[in-house]
């Protein structure tokens, strides 16, 4: 940090628009740090789930409940939404407002599809299989880990929508560019969390 010859404001001139102001630069760094904190938040939920995984207390177990097809559908929808969100950031870098908005709209639609699939999965466990969160420690851990992720995606949908409106009103400016870039980081981060849910919850549940 000490040895740089260019000052930060000089560096900013050669960077994408979202970094072009001091405020944008500070907020993006702050948001990265926030995501690192979220990492610990989710790791706590993972640790809890993994401890309680075998505490099924006579209620349905992971093997009884999990089915491959709906899980793969959720996974593919979320992976593709991360891809479309990445294309949005690409259009942002090309200063193409229409392209950016279009990809963000696609991302929101995929996000809604994911939430719909997840809600359907929860409903089938809790109602059809008679295994709501209060039936065992395992199910408490399962619903809260996935529910926290789902709540993050839901919040993300509202957030992306608010940014689509601002982009439509103002076009790509230093401020809207920073917001669009940050919501992209958030969306990709939720995809990373899902990868670990897919591995530690579903695949592990099918194996053990």
């Amino acid at each position: 940090m000490a040895a740089s010859t260019l000052t930060e404001s000089e560096k900013r001139k050669n960077m994408p628009l979202e970094y072009s102001t001091e405020e944008g630069d500070l907020r993006i760094v702050g948001f990265w740090i926030f995501l690192a904190a979220e990492l610990v938040l989710f790791s706590t939920l993972f640790a809890t789930y993994l401890v309680l995984q075998s505490h099924t207390a006579g209620a349905p177990t992971a093997k009884d409940l999990f089915k491959i097809n709906p899980v793969m559908a959720e996974t593919i929808v979320l992976l593709v939404s991360s891809f479309t969100c990445g294309l949005g950031t690409l259009e942002l870098r090309r200063h193409n407002t229409k392209g950016l908005i279009a990809w963000l709209v696609v991302t929101v639609i995929l996000g809604l599809a994911f939430i719909g699939l997840e809600a359907n999965e929860f409903y089938s466990y809790a109602v059809h299989e008679g295994a709501p969160l209060s039936s065992s420690a395992f199910l408490s851990g399962f619903f809260i880990l996935l529910g926290t992720h789902g709540a993050h995606v839901t919040l993300g949908i509202f957030w992306v929508t608010a940014i689509i409106i601002q982009l439509a009103q103002r076009g790509i400016t230093a401020v809207t560019a920073r917001k669009a870039f940050m919501v992209g980081l958030y969306w990709h981060f939720l995809d990373v969390v899902w990868i670990f849910i897919f591995t530690a919850v579903y695949l592990t549940g099918l194996v053990i």
């Binding site: 990492l39 090309r94 990709h188």
Partner: protein, 105 residues
């Protein structure tokens, strides 16, 4: 906040988004590979777990580098050190908790 209109350089060239498409293909391939290892093969449990966790880590790195531009910024050391510390604490949480909770008298 001043709303500068397009003062900064356009940083991405036009053309086919190869990086993003490769990222997507790799993600999907790794997902199906992990599924196949878990369901299709009948390896010993600890081997299966090691492999699928390893694949998940690779996939997370793909997101981080191909979509999240983790190496960007006026001083990338902040977010890199932050993430490394976050990963350290997350590891301490998961590994420590499992160790403690599975080894009680």
């Amino acid at each position: 906040m001043q709303e500068h209109k397009n003062t900064a350089v356009e940083s991405e060239p036009a053309g086919f988004p190869w990086k993003q498409v490769i990222g997507l293909i790799l993600s999907l391939a790794l997902t199906f590979l992990a599924l196949w290892i878990a369901v299709g093969l009948s390896l010993p449990v600890h081997v299966t777990l090691t492999l699928i966790v390893g694949l998940a880590v690779i996939q997370a790195l793909i997101q981080l580098f191909m979509f999240m531009h983790v190496l960007e910024g006026t001083d990338t050391s902040h977010q890199i050190l932050g993430l490394i510390f976050g990963i350290f604490v997350a590891f301490a949480m998961v590994a420590g908790t499992l160790w403690i909770m599975y080894f009680t008298l």
